[in-house]
Symmetry: C2
Subunit: 157 residues, 2 copies
DNA sequence: CATTCTTTCAGAATAATATTCATAATTAAT
DNA sequence: ATTAATTATGAATATTATTCTGAAAGAATG
């Protein structure tokens, strides 16, 4: 348990807002936006990366373009002991599983899964989930339509 | 309803894999990786952006670093008619709401919300959700711990 | 306060990448 | 086959990234 101090200031927040919105914005543009030198921006961005404030950069790909049209959420009850997460880690290794959350109340997980279609989902549940030791039951929720989906976080001040 | 043809080939898939993993990878590096000229990569990437295969680039920010430590999922029952989504669109406008999915079965939505803490969640539910017309009921699920969270999509071939 | 230590920034110099464009190669269409 | 359309290359130029030195600003110390 390492308590981390982030100590971000107003300038950091501005940089984060810009980069959250456009992960490929360049230092020169950020510098222009904030009225600073590019070299100063570079230093700050590197620091933000090192402090794990910025965790990753990624291109968001249209799931339909790669034939992953079905989105589902599955509640999974497991026999994991509190704290450990044998099942959770096994679930996390499945490529179609985008998220694994340990949830309160149900000694279980909520996972988010993308497959080609319902057949792909059934296959995944049978062939992959079925082989994970410790799963007691599942309850699947199919998404008909996604109205919003991003990971933009609210940045203070 | 516009049926779109994406027509992606092996090279596109390789580019997508690289960019999904590192949204800031540069054309020169992709070119080296694929044994092509940087200018050719640039053209393809631009095309992928225009065809909405690549939807967005973004920096993933550590929620804890900006004091958004609590993640919750909320099922929301609404009186929206099938197809319309008055409530869904209203929910999508809330900055703390990262995702809004129209789900099968319950004439309702599943939303993903980040707040500072449980107090922030209660405030949001009272002050913001409470003002959305058409919400019949809610059921909240608190996330204790996240094991995995990304939007990496499985890319074929 | 003065001094030291630390952090952050600016600005210049250089390295690397992005972008453009004309041409060649490849692929698809008829 | 021939033409048309797409995609790639390679060179030239524009921009940006990166490094580095010194200055400025802040924090900590006595």
């Amino acid at each position: 348990m390492t308590k981390v101090e982030y100590n971000l200031d107003q300038v950091d927040y501005k940089i984060l807002r810009l980069m959250q919105d456009n992960g490929r914005i360049n230092n020169a543009d950020i510098a222009r936006e904030l009225g600073m030198a590019p070299s100063a921006i570079l230093e700050r961005v590197k620091k933000l990366e090192q402090k794990d404030v910025i965790l990753k950069y990624s291109a968001k790909i249209n799931p339909a373009a790669v034939d992953q049209k079905l989105l589902s959420f599955i509640f999974i009850k497991s026999n994991d002991i509190i704290g450990e997460q044998r099942v959770g880690l096994a679930l996390a290794e499945i490529p179609e599983v985008q998220e694994v959350h340990d949830i309160a109340g149900d000694d279980g997980y909520l996972i988010k899964v993308r497959t080609t279609d319902s057949t792909g989902l059934v296959d995944l549940m049978r062939n992959t989930l079925g082989k994970v030791e410790g799963i007691i039951s599942t309850r699947t929720t199919i998404v008909l339509q996604t109205v919003k989906e991003d990971q933009q976080v609210v940045i203070p001040e």
